[in-house]
């Protein structure tokens, strides 16, 4: 029987939730890295036992962790736990994210007040393992940049073409900082990749990350001087179905958007949503026109409208939405669901998972018709990823 492994990053550690394919009974392990902020945990599609985690602290900075046994044990890549180091200068570089400063255009970005400010590494928001090589992984960081490791996380090198394509000095931080939070790899074209940055917008490369272009035509954001500007949009998350890598769905700060041409043009598909502000968006594993969002009241009130936690599903690729609330709190609920905190499994029926800032992780084993909490009282959930494993332990 298949097994499901849910990887949860929280404000105070990581948790691994496992179940068989029925998705009724769950085992909870953790906290891993107790007391640290875990922005993201994600497994390699090529080797599900290889899992990367971003561990961060306002005091002690960024740590990259890797597990080679499905999340049971962890180590910093290149630095096995407890192993004495050889004499000489420190060699550990698994948490060294050095910006490429080879061109002047890469040196500054826009600050909240409109002035220019130097790039400063703060943390890794998102880790995206290669679709084919467990040792290759991309990291989206704050201040926004894209890094890549080809040695299992032991060392990192920036792909400077993204910051350096020309609009970098116009990028500015959103409320959560200037973060590169979304990395999508095209399964049909290894040269194509998408990223999204708050608050700069979405970008695409068609040459393996060497060069990039903004893909924000059709986005409209009233909070920037030119609402239709090429750059400056606060994209919260982007999702893609692997069978149609040219079709993208976006939850922007406000507005749910859709592109049918790999991001070259976007159109709004918010339709009858009660509010089109939100953070998460994801696509059903088997139905590429079925998408999910969690509407949040507004950019100043980060909780569900009317105190009712509802997932909204569209089976038409947007515009027509239905609320899914069975099993979710329908009164006095004032949690948020952050941008990387929703994921789907690939079982039939498709399982949907999301975590809240109140520490609940909800699961639906029937594509959203009904929900149950796997856990209710974790620290605030920052990210949720799901692995669908071929067989049980």
């Amino acid at each position: 029987m298949s097994q499901i492994r849910v990887l949860v990053g929280t404000r105070k550690g990581a948790f691994v939730l496992t179940s068989d394919g029925k998705r009724e009974r769950w085992e909870v392990s953790g906290p891993h890295f107790a007391g640290w902020e875990i922005y993201h945990v994600k497994g390699s599609p090529a080797d599900p036992n290889c899992i990367y985690a971003s561990q961060a602290s306002g005091w002690f900075g960024q740590i990259i962790q890797r597990s080679d046994d499905g999340g049971k044990t962890w180590h910093q890549p290149g630095t096995p736990a407890g192993e004495p180091a050889a004499p000489g200068p420190p060699k550990s570089t698994s948490n060294k994210f050095a910006y490429d400063a080879s061109a002047s255009a890469l040196n500054t970005h826009q600050w909240y007040d409109g002035t220019q400010r130097s790039w400063e590494f703060k943390r890794v928001w998102h880790l995206e393992p290669s679709l084919t090589d467990p040792g290759t992984v991309y990291a989206g960081v704050e201040d926004a940049a894209l890094f890549c490791s080809t040695d299992g996380g032991e060392s990192w090198k920036e792909l400077p073409g993204l910051r350096g394509h020309g609009t970098g000095p116009k990028w500015q931080p959103g409320g959560g900082g200037m973060c590169l939070h979304t990395i999508i790899l095209d399964p049909n074209n290894p040269q194509r990749m998408y990223t999204a940055i708050s608050a700069a917008g979405a970008f695409r490369t068609d040459d393996g990350g060497a060069s990039w272009k903004p893909i924000n035509r059709g986005l409209y954001s009233q909070y920037i001087p030119d609402p239709r500007a090429e750059i400056g949009h606060c994209v919260h998350h982007v999702a893609m179905h692997k069978s149609r890598p040219g079709v993208l769905f976006m939850q922007k700060h406000w507005d749910v958007m859709r592109s049918d041409d790999a991001g070259d043009n976007w159109r709004e598909v918010s339709g009858n949503l009660p509010t089109d502000f939100g953070f998460v968006i994801d696509v059903h594993a088997h139905e590429p026109e079925t998408i999910y969002v969690v509407p949040i009241k507004s950019d100043s009130e980060h909780f569900p409208p009317d105190g009712k936690l509802r997932v909204f599903r569209s089976r038409t690729g947007g515009n027509e939405w239905e609320p899914l609330s069975k099993g979710l709190p329908q009164r006095d609920c004032y949690v948020n669901v952050l941008r990387d905190a929703m994921a789907v499994d690939s079982l039939d029926k498709c399982g949907i998972y999301f975590g809240t800032t109140g520490g609940q992780v909800y699961a639906s084993a029937d594509a959203g018709e009904s929900w149950n909490p796997i856990v209710r009282d974790l620290p605030a959930v920052l990210s949720v990823e799901v692995q669908t494993l071929a067989s049980s332990r």
Binding site: G35, A85, P90, T93, N95
Partner: protein, 98 residues
Amino acid sequence: MIRVLLPQHLRTLAQVGSEVEIEVEGPATQRSVLDALEGRYPMLCGTIRDQVTQQRRPFVRFFACEEDLSHESPDAPLPEAVASGAEPFIVIGAIAGG
């Protein structure tokens, strides 16, 4: 032999107790102590000082002999009591608020 006291999170990372003992070649300074510490426990690289700039992380402080040494030059000699191992070099996460 230099004694170094680590905060809880860094003990967990390095899988050590609260105090570690390290050997330092040459004069005992913040830089030589941290070089030796990171050499012995490379998993601590970047957690106390930035990997690129080598600057002390803003929320990390260095205390010894009831003095705050955080703003001393990294190449200034540490107190003799630290160099001799009589007193520890304390790495601490700065506390703000209550």
